[in-house]
């Protein structure tokens, strides 16, 4: 089956189709066996000191292999947003955005904020006329959106319906309705058969300064090493830096049509078109992620070596392949669906809403810098 608008529409409405998935085998940019740096987490595990990686095990056939998390599902969702934002900036994609001008940082959009449109930075921001955003009509519509009628979110923040979101600061009682939308798209990268590699850290000073000598550089007499100067001989325990080597990395990405079918938009035709658009947007996000997402962090660049392709996960029949999913093709399909919005009565905001950061937050940023 080849990816097209008609095929996608049929898949989304078919209750026997659970969704799409793809598994990609990745290798380091430096070649098989090269070291990569996983993400670190603050809490130490057991006796391990310093930053902690997320280790686990997995069965691969008859053997049990050690795995290490390379990119969590939350991080992958953030990268999807970054990839889509790149397409917006290059004018290949239109999304309803909230843009905030942040002093000394620049413009931030809701795709760059941790909680998307539910982020407190937007909740406390002001409109150009000085009124608070949370009292605006857009905010009221977004807060009142529910799974039965999510038209407002489709109009102002469709990625909430694709990547999930939780309006955790709204409501005055634990049982009151809060915007809670489960994700329809999920992706994760895990290193398979991973081994830890210790790497020494140190500092070579070209001026040859002794690190233990105390010198007053205007902030009291302190050791040179405490002021960023001097020689620190490379050692395993001074600046513990870990990396891993692995057999390969596995990236598994999924989009669930069942989640989208639970969301209503005010009528059969509207539901069909809106869900198809959200599916197209999710697939576009994943395609863009796969194309752009090789660089995870410093010393962690991955390249796709092999993939089993996009598979249609059906009820009661073997999985079928869906070919032709590229960023360009998925952009076309998403635009085709979007073009049907007006005739079906669905609204979609194309102009960004400009906001200014709350004064108290600006002041807090200033204090943090100083």
């Amino acid at each position: 089956m080849v990816y097209s608008l008609s095929e996608l529409s049929n898949l989304v409405v078919d209750p026997a189709v659970h969704g799409l998935s793809i598994t990609r085998e990745l290798q380091p940019l430096g070649g098989r066996g090269d070291a990569v740096s996983p993400p670190t987490f603050a809490q130490a595990q057991g006796d391990e000191k310093g930053p902690r990686y997320v280790w686990s095990e997995r069965r691969a056939g008859d053997e049990t292999v050690k795995t290490c998390l390379l990119d969590s599902s939350a991080s992958q969702a953030n990268r999807i947003e970054e990839s889509l934002l790149d397409l917006v900036r290059s004018r290949k994609l239109t999304l309803p955005l909230h843009r905030m001008d942040v002093p000394n940082i620049g413009v931030l959009t809701d795709l760059e904020l941790p909680h998307r449109i539910y982020d407190a930075a937007i909740g406390t921001a002001k409109l150009p006329d000085g009124s608070p955003w949370r009292r605006s009509e857009v905010a009221r519509q977004v807060r009142s959106a529910s799974r039965k009628d999510a038209s407002a979110l489709l109009e102002h923040a469709p990625l909430i319906l694709v990547l999930g979101g939780w309006d955790s600061h709204s409501g005055t009682a634990a049982n009151a309705w809060q915007g809670r939308h489960e994700k329809a798209v999920w992706s994760k990268i895990v290193a398979i058969d991973a081994f830890k590699m210790n790497r020494p850290g140190g500092r070579l000073d070209p001026m040859g300064l002794p690190s233990s000598e105390k010198v007053d550089l205007g902030d009291g007499s302190k050791k040179l090493v405490d002021q960023g100067l001097g020689v620190v001989p490379p050692a395993m325990d001074k600046f513990p830096r870990l990396s891993i080597t692995m057999r390969h990395a596995e990236q598994r990405s999924v989009i669930s049509f069942g989640v989208l079918r639970k969301i209503g938009f005010g009528g059969d035709e509207k539901d069909s078109i809106a869900r198809t658009y959200l599916a197209a947007l999710g697939i576009l996000g994943l395609a863009a992620l796969h194309r752009n997402g090789g660089h995870l962090r410093s010393e962690c660049d991955l390249v796709c070596q092999r993939t089993d392709g996009w598979r249609i996960r059906r009820d009661d029949s073997p999985d079928e392949n869906l070919s032709g999913i590229t960023v360009e093709r998925t952009l076309e399909v998403a635009q085709e669906v979007l073009d049907r919005f007006p005739s079906s009565g669905l609204a979609f905001r194309r102009e960004p809403i400009n906001l200014t950061v709350h004064d108290a937050i600006v002041a807090a940023m200033g204090r943090a810098e100083s």
Binding site: P15, A16, H18, G19, S21, F41, Q43, V54, W55, S56, E57, R58, R59, T64, T67, L69, S73, G164, W166, S168, H169, G171, T172, A173, A174, N175, Q178, E182, K183, W186, K188, R252, V254, S256, G258, V259, R261, K262, R313, D315, D316
Partner: protein, 453 residues
Amino acid sequence: MLDISVRFLCGEFVAQTHDVGSEWPPHPARLLYALVAAWHDGGCNPVEREALHWLESQRAPSIVADRDVPQEEYKAWLPMNSVPNWNKKGGRRPSLPKTRQLRSSRYVGDVPVSFVWDDDPPVKYNAPLRHLCRRCTRLGSAESLAAITVDCREALHGPAWRPSQSGTMLRIPRPGVVLALTGSNAPIPGRVLPCDWRAYRWGYGKQPGRMITVALARGNWPVERAPVLAWQLRRALIAVAEAEHLPLRPILHGHEEDGSPLRRSHLHFCPLPHVGSRYASGSVLGVSLIVPSDTDNDDRDYVEHVVAAWFARGAELAMEGGRLLSFAPRDTRRTLADRRWCRAAKVWQTVIPMELPRHVAKRRKWNREDWRRIAEEIKVACSHSDLSSPIEVEASNTPFTRGSPHARSVRGPHRRPIVHARLLFPDPVDGPVVVGAGRHLGYGLMEPVGTLS
């Protein structure tokens, strides 16, 4: 058997049980809760609700899933809606806890987890159950995207999590759960949804069969002739069924319509001897009719009906030599209690010698090679009884327990050699355990040895 399979699209199962931590295997109650949520999402169809009521009234299902799945865990800050802060206006807001919360996931890959119930649903519930499962998009947290399908299966073989008398406690549905979740507007206190708890154990063993035990009230019978007693009881029940004009079902007589041996398990007639204790007499104190676990309710009812009819006709057996044995319903003697024969254990030993599946060398005295072959035949016999392969096998003509007969002293309708066996299984096995070719007449009745630890 109803089979509801869950394939995790992301390859991971993410769920935690309150006060237990990372959950494995997925609890059956969680599946029912997900189906109730799907019922609500689908517009509250009344037929689907009936299907849910039927499902919650079933016995605890078996769960086809790996014994243990490694977990990946990390700690993260998560707003907790269940631990609210009171704000100045008296309302409650979700609070950020003082410590990071543990998030764990288990990688299951593309292998589905199946929940298997003994019975098939009524035909009218097939479509509603299928629709409910299709609308379910996850099992556990939002990270556990799932594809849930409904199927039927003939039997459950191989390793699985099965209800047991002890083991890992899992939440299971019970009647009233669906009403509690759907019928009342009152919030459910705390975050613990209504359920029952049931012990599960992972293993190859089938579900424990049901024991219908009758006590020997008058007369004595030696354990050396136990298979003869079993044979006579079988004949007596068949005669009663014929006299009552009841159909003669294969569950009772153990043959196909063409007279060939029945390919599936049928009733085991197991004399229960007084063995093991210091004062063991070696006499048969009663007989247990062991109904295999995969027997449907209809056949179970049939067996109970035949036994009741036999009691109505006096419950007597005329044995050879003019001896008359009278039976009564089970009494309180320990030998006749289910727990005596059903307690889970890793070590099991025969109290009545087992009949080997095949002949070994016909010698007055077996040599070492013969005993090695016997040990292999015993392992084969275990597989015929749906037991996992024992990791140690000890075979002997002499009994392992006081009161049990020497193998060469047992008289009965066996045609192949009989030996005593002591087996060590890799995991605790639930009883009753009866192995070997003559198990339907009590050959190979085993007792659990040692404590559960």
